[in-house]
Symmetry: C2
Subunit: 409 residues, 2 copies
């Protein structure tokens, strides 16, 4: 893979990464894709527990590979005094320190904000927790689904007459990680002007509010909780709008069709596509409000057409006619879609333990090219490299640390 | 509201913001919250169409207020030669230019990347579209739901035996906006080193891959599309894990309970909470695999307990016992939750047209405080201020532009 101008945006920025699972790692991975030197500090035994989530044949799990591309790995026993001392030495050289341990854990390790910021006052010290300091639940454990329950997403996902439902995307984890990344980069930008460090804290519950604001707008407008709307919108009804079944009958053989209230042409164009031009101007269907009254009939006339086409064809024809439309693509179809590889959004890398695999890189293009994907590191793969380049240790010094069990085997 | 150290992270950065609706505005709003001077350039008639999405009494819609806090608004008729000239003059003073018009529109206006970057080579020029340049659908229109259909989220949301479903959070819009913001800030950081400008492009379909990577890990591991898992995980089953009904019987009277496969103590602690200590060590339930075999029984014994408690109490008791748990909170409950206001995550502002309203600010805390919320601007509210401070125009010059219909009334 050729290099991309995105690769060097954050060149020279050193991130000391004590994160695990997804919320923290998704943040530091974004920084790594954009050129930061991200050093994962892992325990010498098993490392980030993400390495062991549904592993295949004892190798690093694909879960881990997804969230740790382009990083380095250093193993340090944080419970040994010498290990802790090494991390404190690394702190002196770092621009960013980030952790997402359970509440209170990093302070018990002796690496709380006060300690780390005293060693390096210009460091950006970032913490990701489930609940905010000062929340009644600040000591509680959280995972993606807990944040999605407590922060709004589940209450607005599901059928109108059904129970709440968890969105499949990991908004609680990666969603929080992205907000953390923005906050860190903003603090780094200030630091270029002022030299100032910062203590950033973000809670997964709080972060969920950022992704559910359309529903909050509906709540403030109407004075009641936003209701679940199936595949419609919690904001407003505007049929036809939703998923329509297509030929094939498989679990994802559907096409989303959206006609905007703001653009009456969408509906008229759609009538042309489905061969019902005679209804253009018909008062039963001409306005949004009329279509809400005749919603079942509207939906059925669209479905009669969509059932005759496969989802790709339906998307091509409806979208091509200037009506927003999208086939429901599953993860295997997306992985196999040639356009992602051609455009560099998905790249194939060689992993020393696993061989070749394909995954997405950072999905923005810089001068036409997304950042270059490199595989996630094996546990401790960069011990020598990082201890030499950050701390100036020679091979003998690193060998002693290894013999003494400070940095694993 | 007192100021927060977050307020000045991006001080001095000028953003020329030609975005509308949500994907673009959520990006520039994050920058505004963190201190950038974000100037929305709107058409003098109706402005950003987001102002008119479910408005109440002809005022700016709450939808608009959510995505445009802390910004300025300037009205310019982009179709008049003098209006276009003014925008080009503003380009000379801007650090960032961003747009999310329909494909081809900004180029037709005469403000394509080549034009803008020729005027100001060090500008960061960012574009948000539905589909990537080079995609078979690059000319298609897209909205949040189209991205969520074509980028994976809908295929992994819903009941295992039901149709795909749209997640309620607007991952297609705000999710894309957050990735755009990270990309812009990274390019700005490089610019402090090298002076270099950049052309950033991001597609909403591509951005969805970033939020669905757990499902891609499952796909790569198993060689098949990730399946919908209701409120469970597309990655793995591990009962008890999911939503359990609580006292009250309302649409959101549920608590999420999660017992981690990585920590067998969660299950044992839960048995203590629900008064079934006699089952600790029982081989029918002791391991994850055993619980999968007896899933219905496991779920029922948890539900017997949760039905006796309201969701808040259930969360407090289960969470307090060291088991990840979360009540399903609706948007009205969240808006009324005192902890958000106390911690500054939600703030109340005075809007000149609407009066006081409460909404979330940027949900990260800087030295303990989230950024200070300011209300979204009225249409054209900052014409004088911006034309004077960016371009040095006096009141007479601005008056002439107004008389000539270049900047609206």
């Amino acid at each position: 893979m050729e290099s991309s101008p995105g690769d060097n945006c954050l060149t020279g920025i050193r991130v000391l990464d004590l994160t695990q699972f997804e919320a923290g790692p998704s943040c530091t991975e974004a920084m790594a894709w954009l050129g930061a030197e991200v050093v994962k500090v892992e325990n010498p035994g098993a490392g980030d527990p993400g390495r062991s989530i549904n592993p295949k044949g004892g190798k690093d799990a694909h879960y881990f590979l997804q969230y740790n591309a382009n990083k380095k790995s250093v193993t340090v026993n944080l419970k040994s005094p010498r290990g802790l001392e090494i991390v404190k030495d690394l702190v002196k050289k770092a621009d960013v320190f980030i952790e997402n341990f359970a509440p209170g854990a990093v302070e018990r390790l002796g690496l709380g904000a006060d300690v780390v910021r005293a060693i390096n006052p210009s460091i950006i010290y970032a913490q990701v927790k489930g609940f905010g300091a000062g929340s009644p639940f600040e000591k509680n454990l959280a995972f993606d689904m807990i944040a999605q329950a407590c922060g709004g997403p589940m209450s607005i996902t599901g059928e109108p007459d059904g129970p709440p439902l968890k969105p499949g995307p990991t908004i609680g984890d990666t969603g929080t990680g992205m907000l953390t990344c923005i906050s860190i980069l903003a603090a780094l930008l200030r630091r270029t002007r002022t030299g100032q460090g910062e203590h950033i804290q973000i809670a997964m519950q709080d972060a969920m509010l950022q992704y559910t604001r359309g529903a909050f707008a509906a709540t403030t407008t109407r004075g009641e909780p936003a209701k679940r709307a199936g595949s419609g919108s919690v904001m407003s009804r505007n049929p036809p709008m939703g998923l329509y079944p297509t030929k094939g009958g498989g679990p994802n053989d559907y096409v989303y069709v959206y006609t905007s209230r703001a653009n009456p042409e969408h509906w008229r164009r759609l009538l042309g596509v489905i061969g019902r031009e005679e209804l253009i101007g018909d008062p039963r269907f001409e306005t949004s409000d009329a279509r809400i009254e005749n919603e079942a009939e509207v939906n059925e006339m669209v479905a009669i057409w969509t059932r005759k086409h496969d989802k790709h064809e339906a998307m091509r024809i409806i979208g091509g006619a200037g009506i927003p439309a999208g086939a429901v693509l599953d993860t295997q179809e997306l992985l196999n879609e040639p356009s992602f590889a051609e455009r560099g959004i998905m790249q194939t890398v060689q992993h020393p333990g696993i061989g070749p695999y394909k995954m997405t890189t950072w999905p923005a293009r810089f001068s036409g090219k997304p950042p270059t994907l490199r595989p996630a590191p094996l546990l401790g793969a960069n011990n020598e490299d990082v201890l030499a380049s950050w701390l100036g240790m020679d091979r003998d010094a690193v060998g002693t640390l290894r013999t003494d069990g400070v940095i694993g085997k």
